[in-house]
Amino acid sequence: MTNPVIGDQQMPATHPVIRLDRLSKSFGSVQANKDISLEIHRGSVLALLGENGAGKSTLMSMLAGQLQPDSGHIYLDGAPVEFTTTDKALAAGIGMVYQHFKLVEAMTVAENILLGQPRGFWLGKASMGRTVRRLAEAYGMHVKPDALVADLSMGEKQQVEILKLLYRQSSILIFDEPTAVLTPAEADSLFATMRRMTGQGKAIVFISHKLEEVLSIADTIAILKRGEVIDRISAASIPSASELARRMVGRPVLLQVNKKPVPTRQVVLKVAGLQGGGLRGIDFELRQGEILGLVGVAGNGQKPLVESLCGLRRPRQGTIRLLGQDWKHFFSRQTWEKTLSYVPEDRQGLATCPSLDLLDNFLLTTRGGFVRGPWLQKEPARARAEKLLIEFDIRPPDLQTFAWQLSGGNLQKLVLAREFFRKPRLIVAEQPTQGLDIAAAEDVWNLLLQAREQAGILLVTGDLVEALALSDRIGVLFNGSLAGMIERDDPKGIEQIPLMMAGLESEASSSAP
């Protein structure tokens, strides 16, 4: 792709339209972004690559005016700007295409585009349609102005979102994982549109974790990890997706945690032929005394798998046996103690009740231990919970605090304190250290290692470092099935994990698309 306006793609000679200078943002003790400096150029696509929780959305929210940086500056055409509201960012030409569309389903395409625009409603219907059609055609989109949004496909709805920004003459467009909802054909047409936009001199930021896509569309790639830009590369200098995968996942570094071997005992979880809801046949066993790490890029079957294992979703095909009982039997007569503990990724909405206080949230899964007949005995529970608050250093250490008032890290510690209190025999931990600072994360790792003596642990994580540090075996999820199961002491196998996560090995072995 050549571009006469911009000239050399690899080394844009023009000055950047947006320059981020050492932006930092913390939420409580968690640093979501740390000294991030990036440049966004006209006529070029910058890809932000990174796992969930790496800080991509925080960074883009600051650019779009939804969040304000703690320190650092944003420069627009060389002049410092402050986007204190989204309106200001929009007025400066920065627009975002969100993953979840913000459209009025009952209105037509043209009405949606002109909604909220000054003087938009005074245009006649015909001229409204004409304007939108002209705009769509200019960028190679085929959505009809008078179609109802409710009747559109996901790809067409996304086109409406893009048209909304183009109509506002946004010159910097941020796409938040735009292909997640698209069919391959729709994705191709989106890329064509994006090329036309860069051809017109617009700047594009493309957030994704799909390596092939990033390579095919981006001019520069910035890789984020734990809030920092760990690599900034020109796309042309990357020979292959596997090289990019290696850079994204990072060198499989070994974190030193004190891990003494534990003999494995009986099987606590057995999954056979699990299918449906995005899963394509999953088989594995988990024994008491071991940690099985499940790694994979988000959206490759983690959610349906975990929800099936934890009783939130009925398995459609295949069998799940938990602690020697079949799924239905296990979840119909659950006890509170010495059973399954689920530490979900969604702490606020799933693991806790936001408007209840910490004592009630402690009782949420442990209530079985404090029941005598019909009575719930709050006083012994209060004594226990108070001890746990101190033991786990949960702040504020006050049981009357509401769950929603706790920071993410403290809330996670509350969930862990509660779940470990149940002396689980099987633990499903989903991104257990996401959003925690490093000290808190180490505490969690040590807790999991300790718990392993009594339990089998399924650690579902996007962080390979974490998985390597803790796991005895590592399973790689890709596209709804296990792309591989690697023993922790198999260095050759571990080398392959980044490739498996990117689905590259399976592509090499089968040529069918």
Partner: protein
């Protein structure tokens, strides 16, 4: 850009602010009510005085308030149980009607039974009938995915018309009026001492205490509270949400049914169409005013009963239409609901830097 306002979520919701907002909402609705009086041609201040005097100005009036507060309290207690789970039971009126029908059926069928046997039997039947009427929408919601608001609302009319069907038909008294024969003495709850207030007041005290204990000290009370806050978290914690929906609707209906029993037995001593005074609908206003707390429900029931008594006086003394009471009730509900917005959000002027 015109100067505008921004809506921000409040970080804290202290109790004093909720109190203040409820008070402000009630005052606003009263103010609007006075405005209506003025439009209608009644001097508003005189009207207000008559309303207050009529409701709380004499022993007789206060007793009348208590008598009317009893059915409102029980219905509201029931409605509040369902509301805690965020199940919107609008059907207290119908459950009340069925409770009255159930109690009447026992009273008419076994007139010879002694009082200590007949009254408990009537209570039991009233609760079963009301609870059954509450269970239907719960089951329909689960099995067929229907909306409980619509179903409970519609079932009110079925229940009321069923009551009419009985008193105009099979149960009509020999006198020919659309009412049943008077209950046998064993089916009547007497009044307390020299007052005109019946012993149902003690039922309210006991049941109110039981509901309070239920929510505060039992495992199901806790599970209802948790599920009311987050259904997803409830499912995560293995709380049997579907069973709780049935439980709260049955309890809710049973309390409304009990209330129907008291009205038939103590206030009217028979069943007749005028038993449907709209207490089941007032109960919804009361439950919201009280923020679902049993003690507050007692207070608001008394106040809303006072409103009804006061409006009767307005009607007699100043010829204000009876509908004024319902209008005021509706205004209170709307302002209190709207006030809920100010508990959760605050409005700040948009800064234009």
């Amino acid at each position: 850009m015109a100067a505008g306002f921004r809506i921000l979520k409040r970080q804290e919701q202290p109790a004093w602010r909720s109190c203040l907002i409820v008070l402000a909402a009630v005052s606003l609705s009263l103010l609007l009510g006075l405005l209506l009086l003025a439009i209608q041609g009644t001097p508003p201040l005189t009207g207000f005085k008559v309303l207050l005097q009529g409701a709380f100005g004499s022993r007789w009036a206060l007793e009348d308030c208590l008598i009317k507060a009893i059915p409102i309290f029980l219905c509201s207690l029931g409605v509040a149980i369902a509301f805690r789970l965020r199940i919107w039971n609008i059907g207290a009126e119908g459950q009340f009607a069925l409770g009255a029908v159930g109690a009447t059926w026992i009273a008419l069928s076994f007139p010879g039974l002694p009082k200590f046997f007949l009254l408990p039997l009537m209570v039991l039947m009233a609760c079963l009938a009301g609870g059954f009427w509450g269970m239907i929408p719960a089951l329909l919601r689960q099995r067929a995915g229907t909306n409980e608001i619509i179903v409970t609302l519609m079932m009110n009319y079925i229940a009321i018309l069923f009551l009419d069907f009985l008193v105009y038909g099979a149960w009509r008294d020999v006198s020919g009026f659309p009412m049943t024969a008077p209950f046998p003495p064993g089916a009547v709850i007497g009044t307390m001492g020299s007052s005109s207030v019946h012993w149902g007041l003690t039922h309210c005290l006991v049941l109110g205490l039981l509901v309070w204990i239920f929510f505060r000290f039992t495992r199901w009370g806790f599970e209802i509270k948790a599920s009311g806050d987050s259904v997803r978290a409830a499912r995560y914690a293995g709380i049997p949400y579907d069973r709780l929906v049935v439980l709260v609707m049955v309890l809710s209906g049973a309390l409304a049914g009990w209330s129907g029993f008291l009205e038939a037995s103590a206030s009217l001593n028979r069943l007749q169409p005028s038993i449907m005074a709209g207490y089941g609908f007032t109960a919804i206003v009361v439950a919201w005013l009280a923020r679902l707390n049993p003690l507050n429900i007692a207070i608001s029931s008394f106040l809303l009963a006072g409103l009804r008594v006061g409006v009767e006086h307005l009607q007699l003394d100043l010829r204000v239409p009876a509908a004024f009471g319902s209008i005021l009730e509706g205004l209170i509900l709307m302002t209190v609901l709207a006030g809920g917005f100010f508990m959760r959000y605050r409005i700040v002027p948009r800064s234009r830097s």
